[in-house]
């Protein structure tokens, strides 16, 4: 749609820029505040731009809460969950898309039902007790393993594999390829961009988990960076928002950077998969 009227054009252009700034403002203000001296943070009326780069906030945040270690934890947890989900999803999706077998319908509905059992929130009490009985409380196992398979990923892979003609599979079989060879050498190379998109969304989902890491980790050394931010707020009795915002920036940087670098892939895969991050 093109706008013909000049005044309408100007009004819409101003609106567009205004909406962009308002939506980005919380992140931008947090970034600025993370460099403010305590005296600047509490200035009235509030200052938006810091007078200098006051790095002390970052040092202080890292001293109060082991955010570095927590970043590593978040990274480990997110990478393993993503890889796990992709592997289980590809295998199960392949089974549902390319094979007919006894019990397929039952298997499919069994998986389907899990869509309305969000483990990391609703079943949190029995999940916690289960982890306790396994001796997994406060370990990476508890943070990773329960989340390495999901119905959404399986359905997503299945949907995608179905778009690849079955004739290809028949041809591969006649040439003597085993089902696994066909998956690895034909299906996967044809699914690169879809898997890339799914990986991104799963990574962000895992990185953003909050409730489960909150209850299952006791030791600061096992906590993820999301919990670190809350600990920083609790530790900062004086509510030194400069320090809290510095910690927030540390926790936010990885996903925000990935997002800025490959925004298009994010958006495309989100729309095509209908996945909730």
């Amino acid at each position: 749609m093109k706008i013909k009227n000049r005044w309408t054009f100007i009004i819409f252009e101003i609106l567009l820029i205004f909406v962009g700034l308002v939506m980005f403002a919380p992140i931008l203000l947090a970034f600025f505040m993370s460099f403010m001296k305590p005296s600047e943070v509490f200035r009235f009326p509030p200052k938006v731009i810091p007078s200098s780069f006051y790095w002390q906030n970052y040092k202080e945040a890292l001293k109060l809460v082991p955010l570095g270690r927590m970043l590593v934890n978040s990274l480990i947890v997110s990478v393993f969950i993503t890889v796990g989900k992709l592997i289980t999803g590809v295998l199960a999706g392949y089974a549902f898309s390319n094979f007919n077998f006894k019990g397929k319908k039952i298997a499919f509905s069994t998986l389907f039902v899990t869509l309305f059992l969000p483990a990391e929130t609703v079943m949190i009490v029995p999940m916690f007790l289960l982890m306790k009985s396994l001796g997994w409380v406060n370990t990476y196992y508890a943070l990773i393993i329960p989340f390495t398979a999901s119905a959404t990923n399986t359905f997503l892979m299945r949907q995608h594999f179905r778009t690849i003609p079955l004739e290809l599979s028949d041809a591969a079989r006649i040439d003597g390829a085993t089902p696994m060879q066909y998956l690895l050498k034909v299906l996967l190379p044809l699914s690169k961009s879809m898997i890339g998109g799914a990986a991104l969304i799963n990574f962000v989902y895992a990185w953003n988990m909050y409730l489960w890491p909150l209850v299952i980790t006791m030791d600061d050394k096992m906590k993820t960076v999301q919990i670190g931010v809350k600990m920083l707020i609790d530790a900062e009795a004086a509510n030194n928002w400069g320090t809290i915002m510095a910690g927030t920036m540390i926790a936010l940087a990885p996903t925000l950077l990935i997002f800025f670098l490959i925004q298009n892939l994010f958006v495309k895969s989100l729309v095509s998969s209908g996945l909730k991050g």
Partner: protein
């Protein structure tokens, strides 16, 4: 051998979901009929007592009310605003690409971090939002600690966080509307505002329904981080929703029976949502 292949392929997924979804779900159901003795050493079968306790407690109705207000207001606002903003973004105005990146950026921000950012904006001493509100209305509101402002504050953070998700889907949907439909409406002399609500909005109804359900589950389940960081359910439990109450009963008060009964109630709600989703949305939404 080939016959067994699909079963081998399914093993990893099913081991995980049986161990970590079905087992705890079953335990949740079972535990909701038991109560632990005073010293926590024995579990006693109590039938529906946990459910009766839950629903004879006025506080739980308050929680349901909070959940209802929080979810519906957040979802309604998000859908309304994102539909409006999506109109701006499909106009191909100069700079749309840059602005789009800025507008989508909250998608990369976790609920917990969104909450921290908004807690900062709403803080009475240093928050820019508090200041702007003060100079505009000359009111000094303690946003996070007084009723009903704390509810407004968590809704603001939630809408901001959810908006990009909806926006992405609306943009995709609006770009799929054939030009011929819009052109014929232009001939009929419909102005922009009418065209937006009478023609475009009905055309994207399936997407709206999909977004409604997705947003509703987000506010039901993933809102925990926002509430825990911004208000901790307060003041006076006025922002305690179902998931927050479940967490309090399960972990702060360690009443596993009562918490499990709440889990079962939430399963019920989730089942209804999933049923509605598949009845009305699946198959009608074309993502590409």
């Amino acid at each position: 051998m080939r016959k067994l292949t699909p079963y081998f392929l399914l093993i990893p997924t099913f081991v995980i979901i049986i161990l970590f979804i079905y087992t705890p779900a079953f335990n949740s159901f079972k535990m909701s009929f038991f109560q632990e003795t005073y010293f926590g050493d024995k579990k006693v079968f109590v039938g529906f007592d946990n459910y009766i306790d839950l629903f004879s407690d006025n506080e739980y109705y308050n929680v349901l009310k909070n959940t209802f207000i929080y979810s519906f207001v957040s979802v309604g606002l998000t859908i309304f605003l994102s539909f409006l903003i999506s109109q701006l973004l499909i106009l191909d105005l100069p700079g749309t690409k840059v602005v789009r990146t800025l507008i989508f950026s909250p998608y990369a921000v976790s609920p917990a971090i969104s909450a921290t950012l908004w807690a900062m904006l709403f803080t009475p001493t240093a928050g820019l939002f508090s200041y702007l509100f003060q100079i505009t209305f000359n009111l000094d509101v303690k946003w996070l600690t007084t009723k009903p402002y704390s509810m407004i504050a968590i809704i603001a953070a939630t809408v901001w966080k959810m908006l990009p998700f909806d926006l992405i889907f609306y943009i995709a949907a609006l770009q799929n509307i054939p030009d011929s439909i819009l052109e014929s409406s232009l001939m009929d002399g419909a102005n922009g505002w009418i065209r937006m609500w009478r023609i475009k909005f009905p055309l994207v109804t399936p997407i709206t329904f999909y977004l409604f359900i997705m947003n509703f589950t987000t506010t039901m389940f993933s809102s925990f981080g926002i509430i825990d960081i911004m208000t901790r359910g307060g003041p006076l439990n006025s922002t305690t929703n179902m998931i927050y109450r479940l967490y309090l009963d399960g972990f702060a008060f360690q009443d596993n029976g009562l918490a499990s009964a709440q889990s079962v109630v939430m399963f019920g709600i989730m089942s209804i949502i999933t049923y509605l989703y598949f009845k009305f949305v699946e198959g009608k939404v074309h993502y590409q």
